[in-house]
């Protein structure tokens, strides 16, 4: 994924200001920043849900559009699946939509998390809805995964399961972008981090470099950079 001179304004308010960023395949990247810093805006631009006000964003050297959706798997920050469907129907729904979707993988993960496929989506708890959504997203064999707050509403044991899922799905051909506030939870699985603040990228470095040069965790650095 590559952004060049990327701007996005909502009315007069600039949500992203001149973003230049290159994310490579085979890397797991943390997109970190305080509330309202532009994380979700950047992810939505990469997914084509928003269009840039200026500049460009390309994936696999293709401008974001219909073609890139085939290779991008997106987990939104809200629960937004048709809630009258049963879990099994949602699996079929995803299978119809995406060529790279693996039904077997989805069923395996659903079983691991003891989710009943006959349950209707709207009868699930908030955390279980998030789990189902993540399972659907991770069951695709995409080249770019955009996970917006994948662990916001789930318990710590499930967080571990989600992180393990990300590790075991690791592919040298795919990049995984995780936007989150739960830095200490994800820190061990990240290759690199992007700090974003008020629409600007303030830091883009590898976790090893940050720890090696600054002698502190990404979590500690985040608290320092974004002290209120």
């Amino acid at each position: 994924m590559e952004c060049r001179g990327l701007w996005k304004s909502y009315g007069a308010f600039p949500a992203l200001r001149n973003i230049n960023l290159e994310l490579r395949r085979g890397r797991i990247i943390g997109l970190l920043g305080p509330n309202g810093s532009g994380k979700t805006t950047l992810i939505k631009l990469a997914n084509g849900l928003l269009t840039p006000s200026a500049g460009e964003i390309r994936i696999n050297d293709i401008a974001v559009g219909v073609e890139t959706r085939k290779i991008v798997s997106y987990l939104p920050d809200c629960v937004c699946l048709p809630d009258w469907m049963r879990i099994s129907e949602l699996v079929t729904f995803y299978k119809d939509f995406y060529e790279d979707f693996s039904e077997d993988k989805a069923n395996e993960m659903l079983a691991n998390l003891h989710l009943d496929k006959n349950q209707r989506f709207k009868t699930l708890s908030k955390g279980n809805k998030e789990k189902v959504q993540l399972i659907l997203v991770m069951s695709r064999k995409a080249q770019l995964y955009l996970l917006d707050e994948p662990m916001g509403g789930v318990d710590p044991a499930t967080r571990d399961y989600i992180l393990n899922t990300i590790i075991s799905n690791y592919s040298p051909d795919a990049a995984v972008v995780i936007s989150t506030h739960l830095i200490s939870d994800v820190e061990n699985v990240l290759d690199e981090v992007v700090f974003i603040n008020q629409g600007d990228i303030v830091l883009h470095d590898s976790v090893d470099n940050i720890r090696g040069e600054k002698g502190k965790s990404v979590d500690a650095l985040f608290r320092e950079v974004f002290r209120c």
Binding site: S168, D191, R211
Partner: protein
């Protein structure tokens, strides 16, 4: 040994220390085949790239060697493993002596203390 990481140091260097610990303790025997990078990464809860980097450094040091077709193996060089053992022991003693000096013990006093301590064969968790 379980995987436990400090927050303030690069994980790959902690993995290197961990694997060296396993080699010295005999948990990984000389010449033994190591599990796959992906498998170990999953077990440790870290990124496969991080595990790969740790292995690359262990290979550079010669403690691990990779065979293109059959995987990665611990060195069969017992001399090298003994050197590593001495190196780790040296570091532990240096750190221990530093801490003892900080609380006011001289080297002779430390030695006397060690001789008096009859619980040396324990597992270090004798509370």
């Amino acid at each position: 040994m379980s995987w436990d990481f400090d927050n303030d140091r690069p994980i790959y260097s902690q993995i290197i220390e961990h694997i060296k610990g396993c080699i010295v303790s005999g948990e990984y025997a000389a010449g033994e085949k190591l599990p796959a990078v992906r498998e170990l990464a999953f077990e440790a809860g870290v990124n496969p790239n991080t595990m790969q980097r740790a292995f690359a450094e262990l290979e550079t040091e010669g403690l691990v060697h990779a065979n293109r077709t059959s995987g990665r193996f611990i060195t069969e060089d017992i001399g090298m493993i003994n050197d590593l053992k001495n190196e780790i022991a040296g570091k532990a003693v240096t750190e221990f002596m530093y801490n003892m000096k900080n609380i006011g013990f001289s080297k002779d006093e430390v030695i006397e203390l060690i001789n008096k301590c009859d619980n040396m064969e324990g597992d270090g968790k004798d509370e």
